[in-house]
Symmetry: C2
Subunit: 752 residues, 2 copies
């Protein structure tokens, strides 16, 4: 039974539409002039011995960026985007990623540093260099890994057919079909028109621009006499093994066909284990796509592969080899080679989209690609040819694109555009995990739930710092202010004395306990400061006191009467027994220059990458609304006032970052004894990760247990991290990395 | 400056009204006939080497129940109540607590077993037996510990006076004042009218009933020649040390005055350390109070002590000794000895209550006590005399009271009346903590937040099983059903396959994935079963499917389409790597007897201590409301139908315990392989305490990984415990103790 018929008869349309997809993308690091980078693989990317996402290919300069197995091409593209963002963020300032498959500038061969990997790999690379030269191996591309779901395959299996046999049958068909029709993908996606003269050796000549030098015999290809049959799996194995056994190939992996069977260490295992997925190695980098391939093209390749399975198999796949070569070597503005065949394929794809009930976006995508058959200038290669027709312009275009792609990422150094829907702190955490090479799975995007794996060690992380390292009870302690106070008081810390009352009557009876003391009266659960009264000079008048009680009772049924502490509030970020950062938050403000108005000063201050909506940016733009104007008025200013040079004007009474406040790093400014106190406080409530808010009158003086040198405001679980990582003023503290270090002490941190 | 003047001038009214109060209450274990129990101290009460609340006094049968230091007499009384409840719950069925100070039946002296304590203590007890005989030591009473707060004392201190000196000054005054006026307390609270003849030795004779034999020289008192001065702390120390040094007393603690200085190992330390609090040892057990003292009397003692401090000190405290003896030996129906003095005291107390702005309840309490000065029949001793005027009636009254007090507690074996406002599971947990001798502090009653201490090991527990043993992340995993499913699926467990959709359109596109499969369609966050549709036979009709989707989408923006599993749902309670209990919940039901109507069967079933409102009881009463009647109607019954013998009739469709359902323990009935699966599930999500809900078609068959022998419904954090501790049917599993064992592996559990 044909695959199409089986799908339709067994109702497997939806299952057939699912797939596992992974993408590998090679690309050269270059300097700002377009020269291949001579530097070593950046240490920031951790170790290549285990890094799942950031590797090197042939050359030390040739990054290979790898996605995990994803459930859709869109997911794979998204992850590829995240890996690119991290890579670009961590590249030295003087480096870019070259966006083309073929370098514009080739250094002399002896200066090309092969990837500095383990010994065995190096030996293999040296052999390849000897055989193919270094230049061909410098060419980069996209590898597209594609598998069908096991659930689909299980249901597809015919009576009596084993899953292994079915796998091999289906994937062999797909491989042959791909070889037969790959020319169409080369036509639509090929984008390597020429190479520097030095590239060619042994008298090779490429006299005119082509669609895909890389996909042609001028690419990194086996010698013409290397031939492996795809007629059957047995024939394939037999041919390939003979080439290896006779030494014509050093290993199976030296066979560079555009499709490769995956899922076993040697092809000899496929008859018993089954082919798990296919790797398609055909694709040139698309320089117009920031990550080398567009989401549309990734989806198109998926649809194309589905179509190859969907249609009846064409008798002789070998025809495809010459069609591919001819297409690869055609001029970028030549139309598709065999229009009739191409349009027939698109007809089948459209029919499939119809019968599988694929979304409209897929149908539109197919229509677009189909229209390019007669409009070569719309293909990637065609568009490229219109922009650059020689090495010089290609260098200029490539450098320009590379700079654009990098600067776009550097405008958001604090996040990952790929995961823009998640909280910034989780974005930063994900960026770290990718950078250092932790295997990553996002379990629930909305809920900021992430899974990390390093070796066999799995950790789950929510909201960036909620982890297995903390105990269940410690955030529950922090959630309850009364319990927190009791525990910290019993542990001997300076907790402002407080009493709780639930009625005016109770409050009246407690007046004697608080009379003449500086106190704060506040609802037990504080909400944006509502219902809070402060008696800094002590409460003397019972009527005033009771009025404040009534105000607080409007907000909560329980009211706290707490000793007021004079001083400034600081946030201590404690992690794993260490105060990692100390922060001061000050209200939204501008500092005058004697010339600019408040409006101008605010505009200038807001012109900062870190300031935005305060959710997708670490800091918030300062607004000039009613509250800010009122605050100005109280200081006898308007938005049009010119502020004297050096004078700071506050635009808000509250110091929240969310209303435009500044975060000021004070980690090195506070006396170390307060850091110890913060650590001890976290320890008393059993917290590994904890934000301790302390009131301190003078941070330059050490803690003095005999006087009120500090007071605890509260301890917070899941404390904010971004304000420490990207403070408005002062040094950054990469707390997300500290969380990773806490979770994975066995990771080779000292090697980064 | 007088204390009163200082309080008023310094505004210390409220601080003076605060105090630390602790109560110790002795009492004899007796058999059901009133004989002193001959059994050993019950093992259920843990070890006396460290038990903070349940100790023995002189005799092995003489329990000493101790409260921690509390912030009010009410709190102390409450804790004393809880300790009593636990004690009575754990006493053997054949034992009671004798409610009088003096036993009604005295065994022959040689059969009285001295408390089996550590060697040193035993030696001391043997010495006392030799000197005083055993009988006097069998007399029980209340010790009332009283301290002023440090904050009050600090503010009270006069210019240049150290806190230590102040402590000694204030407590010396209080001690002398107490000695001077204690006769009044003996009058109001004395309640030991006589003793069995055997009690008296060396020719002692008590010819008439008295107010307090215990407080008189016939009580457990020093010889008349033992005299210690209270004139000054130095004189006190000097006298007492001389008595010890000359061997007239074996140790300082052999000095049995009704007031004792506390807070140092030897009185010689007081001049440098200061007296910390006073212990008043005067009080007879009040047999009419279930715990030996009423809350009112405990409060009255506090007010009386405040009054003694408040008033000017009376010159010669020694006058008090004879007044006390005379009052103790007066007839229970004699009026107060010195009415003028007594009324003067009450006048001062009233004035104090006025000036301190004490609550109305205190003023009423003072008025009541004052009225008893001329109404001896209203005093405790007076009331007692009216009920029993000889040994025989005293035995009868005592036994009757003892049985009443015990049976009242045994009607609520599942909770602690003292903490009735807390959740039942926390009540059970507190009961265990008290029973086994963990130091206990309730940090937040409303929030079920408790602190435990054993040795130096502190643990915090919320809601009975939320502890430091669980990690922060595992409840967060369980809270997110999608994440839980992903993790358990990845770990290889049988999780029903599911997809999520957020729109009708998405659902329509997913129909192919679920068509013909038995499925459940439900909102992502299930609320009381709203919006759930089950297609047990598989969903065939797309329209039906979409209707179910629409229904679910009304409840949540995300809808889960999940494989339906046939079978019965069981709750597995996993703790610390072990399935501790397995439970089946069945809908509210009755089983016919061929005679009774449904109404009668329900009434009979509801007549069970465990059934009540379902909050203060482990099970809920079955109601006969509209839903139950409808359910009956569906089975062609009414509430008046007589149900055939042995036939079970369900009154509800849902199996919730909260609607009258039965909890049936199945721990021994399920095949052990499911218990292992539940443990492995908890382990996969890193949970120490976890309620795993499994659907199992046949619990007698072992888990079979090749077939659907089980399916995971969900994993729950903070799982319910009461339904396992007090199931409707089957064996109880004391999970609260298991939580304690998990938290404190170092506790000598095997010795209980």
């Amino acid at each position: 039974m044909s695959l199409k018929k089986a799908i339709l008869e067994k109702g497997l349309e939806a299952l057939f539409s699912q797939a596992t997809i992974g993408i590998e993308k090679e690309g050269q690091r270059i300097d700002l002039q377009g020269n291949i980078s001579q530097t070593r693989h950046p240490k920031a990317f951790g170790s290549r011995t285990f890094h799942p996402y950031i590797q090197t290919d042939f050359a030390e300069s040739q990054l290979e960026l790898i996605t995990p197995v994803c459930e859709s091409s869109a997911e794979a593209l998204r992850f590829l985007g995240a890996v690119h963002e991290v890579t670009l963020q961590q590249l030295p300032e003087s480096e870019l990623l070259w966006p083309f498959s073929v370098p514009a500038l080739l250094p002399s061969e002896d200066t090309i540093l092969e990837a500095q990997m383990a010994d065995e790999d190096r030996h293999y690379r040296e052999y390849l260099t000897e055989k193919y030269g270094k230049y061909k191996q410098m060419v980069s591309g996209i590898h597209y890994n594609f598998g069908l779901t096991t659930e689909f395959l299980k249901k597809l299996a015919e009576e009596g057919e084993s899953l292994v046999d079915l796998r091999n049958r289906v994937y062999m068909k797909l491989a042959r079909q791909f070889l037969r029709y790959q020319w169409l993908l080369v036509y639509l996606l090929g984008a390597s028109p020429f190479a520097p003269d030095a590239y060619f050796r042994n008298g090779e000549v490429l006299s005119k621009p082509v669609r895909s030098l890389r996909a042609s015999r001028f690419g990194y290809a086996n010698a013409p006499e290397i031939s492996v049959s795809f007629d059957s799996l047995d024939a394939y194995i037999s041919d390939l093994r003979q080439l290896v056994d006779t030494g014509q190939l050093i290993a199976e992996k030296e066979f560079y066909e555009s499709v490769r069977f995956r899922g076993a260490k040697t092809v000899r295992d496929f008859p018993t284990k089954g082919i798990q997925y296919l790797e398609f190695r055909l694709f040139d980098l698309n320089p117009f796509a920031p990550y080398g391939i567009t989401a549309e093209d990734a989806r198109f390749i998926h649809l194309f592969l589905m179509g190859l399975l969907w249609m009846e198999e064409t008798p002789d796949y070998r025809v495809g080899f010459s069609l591919k070569e001819e297409t690869a070597l055609a001029h970028p503005l030549d139309s598709a080679l065999d229009l009739a065949e191409a349009e027939q394929i698109f007809k089948i794809l459209s029919e499939m989209a119809e019968l599988l009930d694929l979304p409209d976006s897929d149908r539109e995508l197919l229509a677009t690609k189909c229209s390019q058959l007669r409009q070569p200038e719309k293909t990637v290669g065609g568009q490229l040819w219109q922009t650059c027709q020689d090495q010089e312009s290609l260098l200029a275009v490539g450098l320009n694109l590379a700079k654009t792609y990098k600067s776009k990422v550097m405008k958001r150094p604090f996040g990952l555009q790929a995961y823009a829907q998640m909280e910034l702190s989780t974005q930063a955490f994900l960026a770290d995990a990718i950078q250092y090479g932790f295997q990553l799975e996002i379990l629930d995007e909305r809920d900021q739930f992430v899974k990390l794996t390093f070796g066999k060690h799995i950790e789950y992380v929510k909201n960036g710092n909620m982890t297995s390292q903390d105990s269940y009870i410690s955030p529950l302690i922090m959630e309850n202010k009364v319990v927190t106070k009791k525990i910290l008081t019993q542990a001997g810390f300076a907790v402002p004395a407080s009493i709780q009352v639930t009625s005016r009557f109770e409050a009246e009876r407690s007046f004697g306990l608080v009379a003449n003391r500086p106190i704060v009266i506040k609802p037990k659960s504080t909400n944006y400061g509502l219902g809070i009264s402060i008696f800094e000079q002590g409460v003397n008048d019972k009527a005033d006191y009771l009025e404040a009680i009534e105000l607080a009772l409007k907000e909560d049924s329980e009211v706290m009467i707490e000793d007021f502490l004079a001083g400034t509030e600081y946030r201590f970020f404690v992690l794993d027994g260490e105060t990692k950062a100390v922060l001061l938050r000050v209200p939204a403000n501008v500092t005058g220059d004697g010339v600019s108005t408040v409006s101008q000063l605010v505009a200038a201050k807001n012109d900062n990458l870190l300031r935005g909506d305060g959710k997708s940016t670490p800091l918030k733009q300062i607004e000039l609304g009613a509250l800010e104007r009122l605050q100005l008025k109280a200081q006898s200013y308007t938005v049009d006032s010119v502020i004297p040079s050096g004078k700071m004007v506050y635009l808000r009474a509250n110091s929240n970052i969310s209303t435009g406040g500044d975060s000021i790093d004070m980690t090195d400014a506070v006396h170390p004894s307060y850091k110890d106190i913060a650590v001890a406080i976290a320890s008393a409530i059993g917290a590994k990760v904890c934000g301790v808010d302390l009131i301190i009158p003078d941070i330059s003086l050490p803690v003095d247990s005999n006087s009120q040198s500090y007071g605890i405001i509260e301890a917070n679980f899941n404390p904010m991290m971004m304000m420490h990582i990207f403070p408005a003023v002062g040094q950054s503290h990469r707390l997300t990395t500290d969380v990773l270090k806490m979770l994975y002490p066995e990771y080779p941190w000292d090697k980064n």
